[in-house]
């Protein structure tokens, strides 16, 4: 099968020019002990692992915990290699060295078709491009938690760091005991020898430091004791007692509170403000005009004795706002423009195979459809917030963030200090969902802190500010055209989609130093459309990247979240049009994609596909690959009293090697509910520049009484670990939409679905 991957050669060449071949040779991510925090009694053995005096293992943690269980999964990897109980691994926030950067996330941003790029037999061109981008990512050292990439990225480096630490400890112990190292056994963090010697790691750490063992290998999978077993999450106990420390829970001596009001019109600003009444209020101390930081909108902050006082102050200010120079945004107008762009522009071709124009000419029939998805807000339960202190030329930040180094850079920029004068403390995140890949609120907090004469200030947003000043999932449209021959077989599929590209906008505001003058094609726009597993002979997938002006951002599962709805609904249309069972139709076109077929079959089997259901219920099925994981879902749906009711969702997932199966089930359940809220209710409308949905009543989430029972079935695998936090989001909307079609015979081509 010939697929076009020429783009990657260009990317690879660009990378080489940017970074230079001189820095390309492979370099370990082990890091040196100096990278770790120096605490009395701890002995660092490399850039990831310290041994405490009591024998506990201290792990440098560069990734943020936002509910996905990553702090537990990564601790499991080192506990496994060091043979300590999970509870003996303590976490310490990692520093800013590039070993902590996320390489896998950047490599995954390459627009390769998964059927080409997976496994050992990938084409050399792809291997080279992945290698080059990996090297660039290694140099850039972007520490980000996102793209369902944390385990995939740290799987090898962390196990290697722990295995290397273990080898130094064993080497030092063998020398002390005068016995061969391979005769020492380790269990529960205690080393023992048949001669009667026994010691825990803490007793040998000083002797082990500085040694450089060679030829280290990690445990082979048949020796794993922790990896692959469901482990209770280490962050859960503090989350049931109210003790977990989220960004909003930071409390510092003498701390002030600030509340924010931004221009209601996205991108707009204040012409004038009357602060007299606000400043007269008891408990209100200051009003600080806010610039538009990190791609956000300008406005003002009121500083007060408590958040409530600050909010009272905000309400008392009279402001005259103005729309941005480019004019007020309007989502209906943007939708019309997207449709125009679809019909008039050619866009960028992400995938082409066969000869699509020939298939189209030879077709005896055609099926066309236009799909659409609205803007969406993230609506993390913990609204945006940041605590900052600017004092004596130094900045200290406490923030729930997915990008601590970008927080540091933003703070340095606003406070006009060197980056090394900024300290960032990453708190627990009350949800990330992609919203906390942005640093707009950090810029605001630092600007306010600069006006507070050295006092720390906690800046927080109301729900209304959070919902109306998000970086929204962009609106997208997609036009499908299938060609069929005289036997009714699909010979060609053409998909053209249009919508704003997220990555170049994000780079421009979060990492302007990495942002170029021209937008590179953004894989996230076309993912879930250009990379379908179905073996239609001719395919052409292109995307028209628009610039609406709406602040757009990464929303859990990004382009897949809407593109899977488009593609898996259209596949269902093809099955219906050719009078085939939706499962049989898919399997028929998955003959060259056995992994996909296996996942689909597993979900169908467990759901009882084809078996009778109570009257008024129907099943819908969907299959989708994202973040390296393949997920199939079968949804059982009914329509009662004009309401869509999803009763049961059976999910099969192939996410490669599983570290913590308990977390996989949790994330599947979470993803289904997240995707279902969007499928049933999610839409953000912009009128006159103003987002119309301001709080949960207008932007509802699925509630407990509406939640389906979700079943998770994991496909056993020995492949490297792939994504878990997002891949179960995309299939739920098409699974439910397809079930509704089975129930009503009416095809829904727009989100949210209607009863």
């Amino acid at each position: 099968m010939k697929r076009r991957t020429w783009l990657l050669s260009a990317l690879g060449a660009t990378g080489a020019l940017v970074v230079g071949w001189g820095v390309m040779p492979a370099r370990s991510r082990l890091g040196s002990p100096e990278l770790m925090l120096k605490n009395e009694g701890d002995v660092a053995l490399n850039g990831w692992i310290k041994i405490a005096q009591d024998g506990a293992v201290v792990l440098a943690m560069p990734r943020s915990e936002m509910g996905q269980g990553i702090h537990t999964a990564l601790a499991m990897l080192v506990a496994e290699e060091l043979d300590v109980p999970l509870g003996r691994v303590r976490l310490e926030q990692a520093g800013s060295d590039s070993i902590y950067g996320n390489v896998a996330m950047l490599v995954a941003s390459l627009p390769f078709h998964p059927l080409d790029s997976e496994g050992e037999h990938k084409p050399t061109k792809i291997k080279m491009a992945q290698w080059v981008v990996g090297k660039i990512a290694r140099e850039l050292g972007i520490n980000a938690t996102g793209g369902s990439s944390s385990v995939a990225d740290l799987w090898e480096p962390l196990r290697m760091a722990a295995a290397t630490a273990r080898a130094s400890l064993l080497q030092a112990t063998a020398a002390a005991w005068k016995v061969p190292a391979n005769e020492i056994t380790v269990a529960q963090g205690v080393m023992q020898h048949a001669s009667g010697h026994s010691a825990h790691y803490g007793q040998m750490a000083v002797a082990a430091s500085g040694s450089t063992p060679t030829g280290i290998t990690t445990k082979s999978r048949e020796h794993w004791k922790l990896i692959g077993q469901a482990a209770p999450r280490t962050d859960i106990p503090s989350k049931v007692t109210g003790q977990a420390n989220f960004g909003l829970d930071v409390r510092l001596h003498d701390m002030l509170f600030a509340s924010v009001k931004m221009c209601p019109m996205l991108g707009g600003s204040a012409v004038s403000m009357d602060t007299k009444d606000a400043l007269a209020l008891k408990g209100v101390s200051k009003v600080v005009p806010l610039d538009a930081w990190g791609g956000g909108t300008a406005g003002l902050a009121v500083v007060g004795q408590t958040t409530w006082h600050a909010r009272q102050g905000v309400q008392a200010i009279k402001v005259q706002w103005q729309a941005p120079a480019a004019g007020a945004l309007d989502s209906q107008h943007i939708q019309a423009n997207l449709l125009k762009a679809l019909n008039t522009e050619s866009g960028f071709t992400f995938h082409e195979q066969g000869v699509p124009t020939q298939a189209e000419k030879a077709a005896t029939s055609r099926i066309d459809a236009l799909y659409q998805a609205p803007y969406l807000a993230h609506a993390t339960m913990e609204p945006m917030n940041c605590t900052a202190q600017v004092k004596d030329g130094r900045v200290e930040i406490w923030a729930p963030t997915q990008v601590p180094l970008m927080v540091r850079d933003m703070a340095a920029k606003v406070a006009k200090v060197d980056k090394d004068q900024v300290t960032v403390h990453v708190t627990q995140l009350g949800g990330g969902l992609g919203r906390r890949l942005e640093v707009d609120f950090v810029g605001q907090a630092v600007q306010v802190a600069m006006a507070c004469e050295g006092q720390p200030v906690q800046l927080s947003w109301s729900r209304e500010e959070d919902m109306t000043h998000d970086f929204y999932r962009p609106m997208h449209l997609a036009k499908f055209q299938a060609s069929l021959d005289d036997k009714g077989d699909v010979t060609g599929l053409r998909i053209k989609s249009a919508g704003d590209a997220i990555t170049p906008r994000w780079m421009g505001r979060a990492a302007p130093h990495l942002s170029g003058p021209i937008d590179m094609p953004d894989k996230t726009a076309s993912e879930g459309l250009f990379d379908l597993p179905y073996g239609f002979a001719s395919q052409h997938m292109s995307h028209v990247a628009t610039k609406s002006g709406v602040p757009v951002g990464f929303w859990r599962s990004v382009g897949h979240s809407h593109n899977a709805f488009f593609s898996e609904s259209f596949i269902d249309e093809l099955a219906a049009a050719t009078q085939q069972d939706p499962l049989a139709f898919r399997l028929n076109w998955l003959k060259d994609a056995p992994r996909y077929a296996a996942v689909l079959k597993l979900a169908a089997d467990k759901a009882g596909w084809g078996q009778a259901l109570p009257a008024s219920r129907a099943r819908g099925i969907a299959l989708h690959e994202s973040f390296g994981s393949i997920v199939a879902q079968v949804a059982e749906v009914s329509l009662t009293h004009g309401q869509i009711r999803v009763h049961r969702v059976v999910c099969a997932i192939d996410c490669g090697t599983v570290v913590n199966p308990g977390t996989v089930a949790q994330q599947v359940e979470s993803s289904v509910i997240h995707g279902l809220s969007a499928a049933l209710f999610g839409r953000i409308d912009i009128v006159g520049g103003v987002v119309q949905q301001t709080n949960f009543p207008a932007y509802p989430l699925v509630t407990l009484s509406q939640a389906p029972q979700v079943e998770t079935h994991i496909v056993p695998s020995t492949r490297p670990p792939a994504g878990v936090g997002e891949p179960a989001v995309p299939p739920i909307a098409p699974a439910v939409g397809n079930a509704l079609f089975a129930l009503t015979g009416k095809r829904q081509r727009a989100l949210p679905l209607v009863a």
Partner: protein, 155 residues
């Protein structure tokens, strides 16, 4: 103003119209109770007022001045968890965890009144929003805690 919070007498200088949530969080540093929406729509701020689950973000502090206020901080501890907290850990309920204080307080009020709740009881009582979608585990954990308490486990 005198407040009775978690069995302790606390003095607040707050304006009578200030919502209880902000007195708890910003004045008394009891940060276990969360802010989510400010309009009693999400339940992250749920506390008990004289045993009733109440959404503290819209409750003027003056309205509860003479009542017994209970927050997540007094539901149980790591060493001596409430049966619901133990069940929450056993069922691995929380993900990001932000809404869970409110969830637990709503569930505790439910079990106080309805020691052996049906699914319909749980549906009716548990209207708190969870963005991580932990709902089926919340349901399972409430049933688990109810079973435990019926078999002699202390509340």
């Amino acid at each position: 103003m005198e407040l009775n919070i978690n069995g302790q007498r606390r003095t607040s200088t707050a304006d009578p119209s200030m919502p209880l949530l902000w007195v708890l969080r910003d004045e008394l540093n009891l940060t276990g109770t969360k802010f989510g929406c400010g309009i009693a729509a999400c339940g992250a701020c749920t506390v008990h007022v004289d045993g009733q689950a109440m959404r503290s973000c819209v409750m003027p502090v003056s309205a509860v001045a003479h009542q017994a206020i209970k927050t997540i901080e007094s539901l149980g501890t790591a060493e001596k968890p409430h049966p619901l907290q133990a069940a929450w850990i056993a069922e691995q309920v929380p993900q990001c965890g932000y809404c869970q204080s409110g969830m637990l307080m709503a569930a505790a009020a439910l079990l106080d009144k309805t020691p052996n709740p049906s699914d319909a009881d749980i549906d009716a009582a548990m209207t708190n929003l969870c963005r991580c979608g932990t709902y089926q585990r919340v349901r399972a954990a409430i049933h688990r805690a109810a079973g435990h308490m019926k078999n002699g486990g202390a509340a």
